[in-house]
């Protein structure tokens, strides 16, 4: 079922078109990636979903209903430009932010305790925010984003400011929230995390959607049928003799002197493999799918060249 449906949304600022008849359907219980170069319109779209700005035309539906004031309590938003009141105490501030989302004080206190224990930050409750390191502040910020148990979560560059260990903790938490039924919109430039987390994506460029779909489908569509073979040889000349009979092969050296890497652009590698087995030892064979990084660059560049 579709949780968030963005229909023909257009938003114009004084001198540029931030969103141009944007359409996105985000299914329930998934992690949806929102990708695009800087200034593509991602933040504008996110702000429209959060009712920080209103679209000039078009409509947003949440679970089939037009977006309205009551949905604020159902959305948790971690903006890219985020921070906390520096002079306020951590616990007091977390309660305040939870209350603003409509949670009662007592309930907020109870839930915060659970999360503070989980993130191992219970000792910070009475500290002022300015006494915490940036990474610690990010943890507090994340907790305040999800404390009202929203069924829609919007994360804008959530991993910035986290070290690898805490980034992992955060990743687990995001996956956990998805498994518990939340719908998550993830806007990021970190393509590795897109591959790891996202079920589907939309790639935005200049206010328009240029690529949409499931990550696995998109990778399949962009498949160039690459097969990567590493062989260990006794005589390099014999390997080259075989390779020279193909015109769709690329030969590279590896960091070992008795190994070579062959990249074949074909869906039928059997013949080549048979030949190679006779001149050396097969070390590895794998299908190479394009990375989201490659797809991102390729799609955005080809669009920009066309226009």
């Amino acid at each position: 079922m579709t949780k968030i449906s963005v229909n023909e949304v257009t938003k114009k600022y004084a001198d540029h078109l931030a969103l141009d008849r944007m359409c996105i359907d985000i299914p329930e219980h998934c992690i949806y990636g929102l990708l695009g170069p800087n200034g593509a319109g991602k933040t504008t779209l996110i702000r429209i979903l959060n009712q920080i700005t209103a679209p000039d035309s078009g409509q947003v539906l949440i679970g089939g209903e037009p977006l309205c004031q009551k949905h604020i309590a159902h959305i948790g938003y971690l903006p890219e430009e985020r921070g906390l009141y520096k002079k306020m105490k951590v616990g007091e501030q977390a309660i305040y932010l939870a209350e603003l989302k409509g949670i009662k004080k007592v309930e907020a206190q109870k839930r915060l305790k659970v999360w503070f224990d989980k993130f191992e930050i219970s000792g910070w409750w009475d500290k002022k925010v300015e006494e915490l390191s940036k990474g610690m502040q990010q943890k507090v910020q994340f907790i305040t984003t999800i404390i009202h148990e929203p069924d829609i979560l919007i994360f804008d560059e959530p991993f910035s400011g986290f070290d690898p260990i805490n980034a992992n903790l955060l990743k687990e938490a995001i996956l956990d929230l998805r498994d518990k039924g939340a719908t998550i919109l993830l806007s990021t430039h970190n393509m590795a995390s897109v591959e790891e987390l996202c079920d589907s994506i939309t790639l935005i460029n200049n206010g328009k959607s240029i690529l949409q779909g499931k990550v696995s489908d998109i990778k399949r569509q962009h498949d160039t049928h690459q097969r990567e073979i590493i062989v260990r040889y006794d005589d390099f000349a014999k390997v080259m003799a075989i390779a020279d009979t193909y015109n769709n092969i690329k030969v590279e050296h590896t960091d070992r002197p008795d190994e070579t890497k062959l990249t074949l652009f074909s869906e039928s590698p059997n013949e080549l493999l048979g030949q190679l087995l006779q001149v050396g030892q097969l070390v590895s064979f794998k299908e190479v799918l394009p990375s989201m990084n490659d797809i991102f660059i390729q799609e955005v560049q080809s669009k920009n060249q066309a226009s």
Binding site: P79, G83, E99
Partner: protein, 438 residues
Amino acid sequence: MNKIGLIIKREYLTRVRKRSFLILTFLGPILMAAIYIIPIMLALNASNEKMRVAVVDESHWFEDRFNDTKEHVFILMPGQPIDSVKELVKNGVFDMALYVPPTQLNIPSNAVVYSIRQVPMEVETYISGVMQKEIEDQKLMAKGVDPEIVSAVKTDVNLQIMRMDEKGNEKETFTKVQFTLGIILSMLIYMFIMVFGGQVMNGVIEEKTNRIIEVIISSVKPFQLMMGKIIGVSLVALTQFVLWILLTGVLYVGFSAYIGLSHPTEILSSGTVMTQEITSNDIMSNENVQSIVQIAQSIDFGTIIVCFLVFFILGYLLYATLYAAIGSLVDNNTDSQQFTLPITVPLMVAIISSFYIVNNPDSNLSVWLSMIPFTSPISMMVRIPFGVPIWQIVLSVVLLAGTFVLMTWVAAKIYRTGILMYGKKLTYKEIFKWLKYK
């Protein structure tokens, strides 16, 4: 609790808990009390210690003219050379020595006071006063005029000023009191607008630089945040104001009780000195009580208090919304200068012109200034103690309230867009376009 209530609560509590708020709250009344207490303390202390003044008068005109007072004793040293008297001053036998050389009527006197310590102002005034009077008398006598006649001719005119209304009711007015009241009230409004408007602006800038703004406005509307902040800060202002009045009152009563116990007699005399200074220097003390009652009756305190609160609140609200809008436009305090100028100018104009208004409360310019919404909170308060026709007050309030509503709409539009802008140089033209954003 609704969201705007939560915001007001946070804005209020974080501010009143600040150390600077507490310090200012207690320091203010202490300073005010000091203005009242220190002169009395000085007066009381000074009377304990009498200055001994040796007089060497070679003109022999003033020898019997210097009378001992509470502050000084005069000791005549006829025939002593001034140099030996100066030695006595050095040894501490006398506090100072007055030397009057032989004097002629048409040559200005060259009297000298020798002293180790600074000569108190009052001693100087007393001595020169006595000498001046004596020389004047001598001159009059030389011209054949009896000084008695001159003093008999001297008159004091106490001008009574009565204001009449259309119905023929007459009321005595006391310009000095109205003058002081008008200046104090307008100063208070000016100060509170500047200080607490500035606090609103800094609050907005703080939210922007801390980058918490987007987190908050995903929960509440920017308008709610802005109004919550403005109302929260206004409650802080009122709290401070009320505490100041209460604390000043407590200090006043406490000090009066202390003085009353330790100096039962002096308090009366120094107390009358104070009241005489406040009212009029020439009124005799038995007329004092009567005139205070008259003054109190002549001033419509009810109207003044109501008007003060209305103009204070509306004026603050108008300026606070503008300060909030400006706060949203800048990334840090130093940048705020170029945008605060347009709103500090009308405030400055109002406060500077209040010295003109206080002298001409009913002139055309005064009336206009008290109608224009950006100057009216200050300018009208200057005029109120002098009595202002009710229609003018109502019109001024309506204009002010209307402008507040209009400016809130404009400020909310600017604020909404401004708080999400980072590191961009803004022009007025660009800001004007924001008003049209949906």
